[in-house]
C-alpha cells in the first residue's frame, strides 16, 4: 500500500532538490567568486524608469478590491461546477437540471445578500 506512494515521494524529492539548487547555484557561484559581483548603493535602490524616487512611497491603496476578488472567486467556482454539468447535460436528464438550479439559487441568494449589503458599490 505504502509502496504505491514511493513514486510520489521520489517526485517530491526531485522537485525540492531542483527548486533549492536553482536558488543555491547562483549564491554558491557568487560566494566562490566565479561570477562578478559589484554591489553599489545605486544598484540596490528602487527602479523607477531610471529616475530617482520622489516623495513618500508609503502611500495607501484602497482595500475595496478585496471584495471584488471574493465575489470573483465564487463566480469562478460556479463555472467549475457548471462546466462538467453542461458536458454531461443529456445523460443527467431532468434531475441534473433541477439540482443545478438549486445550486444556482443558493449562489443567487448569496449574491443578492452581497448586493443588498452594498458590497458591489464603489465607496
Amino acid at each position: 500500500m505504502l509502496s504505491e506512494f514511493s513514486l510520489i515521494a521520489l517526485f517530491i524529492l526531485i522537485v525540492l532538490g531542483f527548486a533549492t539548487s536553482l536558488v543555491l547555484i547562483p549564491v554558491a557561484l557568487r560566494k566562490l567568486g566565479i561570477v562578478p559581483s559589484q554591489p553599489s548603493a545605486v544598484k540596490s535602490e528602487p527602479y523607477e524608469c531610471g529616475l530617482e524616487t520622489t516623495g513618500p512611497t508609503w502611500i495607501q491603496f484602497k482595500i475595496r478590491y478585496y471584495f471584488y476578488a471574493l465575489l470573483l472567486i465564487s463566480l469562478d467556482i460556479t463555472v467549475v461546477f457548471l462546466y462538467p454539468w453542461a458536458v454531461e447535460l443529456t445523460s443527467l436528464g431532468p434531475a441534473g437540471l433541477i439540482t443545478i438550479f438549486i445550486f444556482l439559487g443558493i449562489l443567487a441568494v448569496g449574491y443578492l445578500y452581497a448586493w443588498r449589503k452594498g458590497a458591489l458599490e464603489w465607496k
Partner: protein, 195 residues
C-alpha cells in the same frame, strides 16, 4: 508649484539641472573600452576552461536586452527583433523592462544630456556581468548632433561601450553582426581574470 506633500516642482527642476551639469562636467572625455583583458595571456587549467566555457555559453546564448531606446535607431532594432530578422535565433527575443533582468544595453539613438543621468542610472542598476552596444552614429559620437550643447557626443562619455555599430541607422544585418562580435567577446571572458 507644490506637487505632493512638501515637494516643490521648482526644487525638482533645480536638482535635475544640477545632476545634469555635474554629469556633463565629469564626462569630459570618453571612457576607455573595457577590452584590455582580451589581449592578456593567462594561465588556464582544465577546471577554469571548463567552467569558463559553460558560463560563457550561458551568457552569450541568452543575452537579455534592456529596453532603454532613446531615438530612431530603435526602429532598426524593432525590425531586427521581429520575424524577418528574428533575433530569437540568438536567444535575445526577451526584452526586459527592468534592468535587474537585463545584461545587455543596446543604446539605439541620440542621447540628450537631459536623458543621460537616467540612462546612466539604468546601466548602474543592471546586474553583473553587463555589456553595452553603441548603435548608430549618434550612439558612437553624437552623429550629426555632435556639436550640439544638448546632445551627448557618444555613449562612451557616460558608459563603458563594448561594441560600436556604425550606420545612420545601421541595418538589421549590421546590428546582428555587432551582436555576433559581442558574443565573440563574451567567449573570451575567463574566471581567472576575475570576470
Amino acid at each position: 508649484m507644490e506637487i505632493g506633500s512638501g515637494i516643490n516642482s521648482m526644487d525638482l527642476d533645480l536638482h535635475e539641472g544640477h545632476v545634469i551639469e555635474d554629469l556633463k562636467n565629469s564626462a569630459a572625455s570618453a571612457l576607455p573600452e573595457p577590452s584590455r583583458w582580451l589581449d592578456e595571456e593567462i594561465e588556464r587549467n582544465i577546471i577554469t576552461t571548463t567552467v569558463d566555457k559553460l558560463l560563457n555559453w550561458g551568457r552569450k546564448t541568452s543575452l537579455w536586452t534592456e529596453t532603454s531606446f532613446t531615438a530612431c535607431c530603435t526602429f532598426e532594432f524593432i525590425s531586427t527583433s521581429s520575424s524577418r530578422f528574428d533575433i530569437a535565433r540568438f536567444g535575445m527575443e526577451v526584452l526586459r523592462s527592468s534592468p535587474r533582468h537585463a545584461d545587455l544595453m543596446i543604446t539605439a539613438g541620440t542621447l540628450t544630456w537631459k536623458m543621460a543621468p537616467q540612462i546612466k542610472r539604468v546601466y548602474e542598476q543592471m546586474a553583473e556581468p553587463k555589456w553595452v552596444i553603441a548603435m548608430g552614429a549618434c550612439g558612437i559620437s553624437g552623429g550629426i548632433f555632435a556639436d550640439s550643447y544638448a546632445v551627448v557626443p557618444g555613449y562612451n562619455r557616460i558608459l563603458p561601450v563594448d561594441v560600436y555599430i556604425p550606420g545612420c541607422p545601421p541595418r538589421p544585418e549590421a546590428l546582428l553582426a555587432g551582436i555576433e562580435l559581442l558574443r565573440k567577446k563574451i567567449e573570451k571572458r575567463s574566471i581567472a581574470k576575475g570576470n
